[in-house]
């Protein structure tokens, strides 16, 4: 069993390498090409428009993203939507919400799934558009996007009563370090 877990871990790591951020620039019909994360930008936590949840605390969010909470208060199953490993947004979320590295996050889910502590595993999408479409299609989905990638098809959730454009909002993608 441990061997299988290790194999999965290796595969996840390999996906991390192959899923570097250029894949995130996949264009989608009707939307402008994604601009590279040249500057720091806030990350919006998004849910389906039919989801009645408007506000989440950072702690609740952490529980959700770590798979500790399986259902919304409405009874809908929670589906976590993540971008592929290596994406700055994912890295930022892991660091700022989960307070984990990529490998720690992978290990957490592998372990949790084996032990049954984790109820849902995250869905991985290659592009912000894919994330947005997924959240639009699945009523219980929750994901994250740069604010500039958000449109009216999804709903932004307040975090600790803050919207991404408000002061004190906790999540953002840092600007890439100059080479």
């Amino acid at each position: 069993m441990r061997r299988l877990a290790l194999l999965l871990l290796i595969l996840v790591e390999a996906g991390c390498v192959s899923g570097a951020w250029p894949r995130g620039s996949v264009e989608h019909d009707g939307l402008p090409p994604q601009k590279p994360p040249s500057a720091g930008e806030n990350l919006a936590i998004i849910v389906n428009r039919d989801n009645p949840v408007d506000n989440l605390s950072t702690a609740e969010l952490r529980r959700i993203f770590l798979g500790a909470r399986g259902h919304w208060t409405s009874g809908r199953r929670i589906t976590i939507v993540m971008m592929e490993p290596g994406q700055p947004e994912r890295t930022a979320i892991l660091r700022q919400i989960c307070q984990m590295s990529e490998s720690e996050f992978s290990n957490h889910f592998l372990h949790g799934l084996f032990t049954g502590e984790v109820l849902v595993s995250p869905k991985t999408l290659a592009s912000p558009v894919g994330v947005r479409e997924f959240v639009f299609n699945v009523p219980g989905a929750i994901g994250y996007l740069r604010v500039s990638n958000v449109d009216s098809s999804v709903k932004i959730v307040r975090i600790d009563e803050h919207l991404p454009n408000e002061k004190g909002y906790p999540f953002h993608v840092p600007a890439p370090a100059a080479k």
């Binding site: 199953r77 589906t79 869905k123 991985t124 999408l125 290659a126 592009s127 894919g130 479409e133 997924f134 299609n137 699945v138 009523p139 219980g140 989905a141």
Partner: protein
């Protein structure tokens, strides 16, 4: 060349000679000929109109049928396209959902979900368009039903898609089998119902086109039949008119021959009897022979004048005659005519009342011909005066638009039997004699008035008549006034003048 000297002597018998004229030539019955021409033209015009109407009706029918056929084609093709698009989009919506079911890749699942939504939008748009253009209640009902069923299916589809994307494949399949299949079957039935409606509409339009085509055919046959009837009627009427003209001409010729024969027989009988008596030695003494000679000469003159009249008419109608047109004094013309008819008038016991306005302008004409013309009118007045023994002659200037400006008029009036209004249009036709005149055995050939009118028209004038039965008649000769500065006044006997061929 017209030779007046040959007609100068008018004797007692000349009253029967006035207008008793010569030979017939084809087409001489101008009145009936012109009537025939007018009726032919009218009938041909009617045929032309009918043909035009037929053409218009045929064009309209062909156009109408064409429009109907185009409508049918457009309706059917559009309907087939629409129903085909709807069916395809509905299938595509469901197919894309199944594609999403067939993979675990969330990116592909999202892509298929997106495709499914695009397809369902097309269905929604198609149904809305169908409802916008629906006219009958049945179409509206089917369209609304499809709209509702499609909405119901989409709710299930959304749930299925959500389950697929969540990774709950079994749940998605169960949901689709439970509700999706049923609802999609309903949608399919609705689409089939719409297709049936399109089929019915196409059949209806096809029937309309067929009916329109049938109507057009019947109408075409009908109007062609009418045109044919009109054409046949025209030909028949023209032929009938010509035949009647020919019959009338033949009848008039027979009457003319009989009349002339009668007129010739009387002097011939006198001459023959006189010759017999002389030959048989029954005439004795110089005085008696002188009387016989005088009678023979008188009858010979009468025959000569008759023959001359006939030749004159023939020459006039053959346009071989030529008139010498000169300025003439109206008083000279009237006086000349009175002198030539004085013996006839006197012997018949008539009073002639002559009124010639003072200072009348000169007229243009041939003295002999115009005198002959007036003489005919006077002789007719004597012949048809009945018990009245009065004739009026009046010369005056008239200015009427009917006769194109100022003219000198010489009217010859009698208080005789008059002419019936139905006869008036025909009295100037050659050979024409009214039934009443024939019945009263008033001799004549029916050429006098025709000859007079021809002469008047040859002088640039006209001859008109006003008459009332049992009251009398007025024949008026309208003559052109001389333009003095162009035509110097000449004596009636000689001098150069313009010549008009007639």
């Amino acid at each position: 060349m017209y030779r007046p000297r040959q007609l100068n002597s008018m004797n007692k018998q000349s009253k029967f000679l006035a207008g008793k004229v010569g030979r017939h030539r084809p087409g001489a019955v101008e009145g009936s000929g012109s009537f025939s021409r007018y009726s032919s033209a009218l009938l041909l015009f009617l045929v032309f109109c009918v043909v035009i109407i037929v053409g218009i009706v045929v064009i309209l029918d062909v156009r109408s049928t064409g429009v109907e056929a185009q409508k049918m084609y457009a309706g059917s093709v559009l309907g087939l396209h629409r129903i085909g698009d709807l069916q395809y989009s509905a299938q595509e919506t469901r197919r894309s959902t199944f594609y999403a079911l067939s993979t675990n890749d969330s990116n592909l699942q999202v892509k298929y979900a997106d495709q499914s939504r695009e397809a369902d939008h097309l269905v929604i748009e198609g149904v809305s368009e169908y409802l916008r253009e629906a006219k009958s209640p049945v179409e509206m009902e089917v369209g609304k039903r499809l709209q509702n069923d499609w909405s119901a299916y989409l709710k299930v589809r959304d749930e299925v898609l959500a389950s697929i994307l969540e990774g709950s494949t079994k749940e998605a399949v169960d949901l689709d089998l439970k509700d999706g299949v049923t609802l999609f079957d309903r949608v399919r039935e609705d689409l089939e119902a719409i297709e049936r409606l399109y089929d019915e509409q196409a059949s209806q339009r096809l029937a309309n086109v067929a009916a329109s085509s049938r109507r057009a055919m019947i109408r075409l046959v009908g109007v062609l039949g009418i045109a044919l009837v009109f054409a046949i009627a025209s030909v028949w009427a023209i032929q009938r008119s010509r035949m009647q003209s020919a019959i009338q001409l033949a009848r008039l010729q027979m009457e003319f021959v009989a009349s002339v024969s009668h007129e010739l027989r009387t002097p011939l009988t006198v001459i023959s009897s006189a010759a017999d008596n002389i030959a048989d030695g029954l005439v004795e003494g110089k005085e008696e022979i002188k009387n016989y000679g005088s009678a023979i000469r008188s009858q010979s003159h009468q025959m000569t004048e008759l023959v001359n009249e006939i030749l004159l008419f023939a020459a006039t109608k053959d346009r071989k005659n030529a008139y010498i047109l000169r300025p003439l004094k109206v008083s000279d013309l009237v006086d000349s005519t009175l002198v030539r008819t004085s013996e006839l008038v006197k012997s018949a016991g008539f009073t002639v009342d002559v009124q010639v306005d003072a200072e009348l302008p000169n007229v243009v004409g041939d003295m002999s011909a115009l005198s002959q013309c007036l003489q005919n009118l006077l002789i007719n007045a004597v012949k048809y005066s009945g018990r009245s023994r009065w004739i009026g002659i009046r010369a005056f200037v008239s200015d009427s638009e009917v006769h194109k400006g100022k003219k000198v008029c010489i009217a010859v009036q009698d208080r005789g039997i008059g002419i019936d209004s139905s006869e008036l249009p025909h009295i100037f036709e050659p050979f024409y004699r009214s039934a009443a005149v024939t019945a009263e055995q008033i001799h004549g050939t029916g050429l006098g008035l025709s000859l007079s009118k021809t002469i008047a028209e040859a002088m640039g004038g006209d001859l008109s008549v006003v008459s009332e039965l049992e009251v009398g008649s007025v024949f008026t000769l309208h003559l052109q006034i001389t333009e003095e500065h162009k035509l110097p006044v000449a004596s009636a006997a000689s001098g150069p003048g313009a010549t008009v061929e007639k």
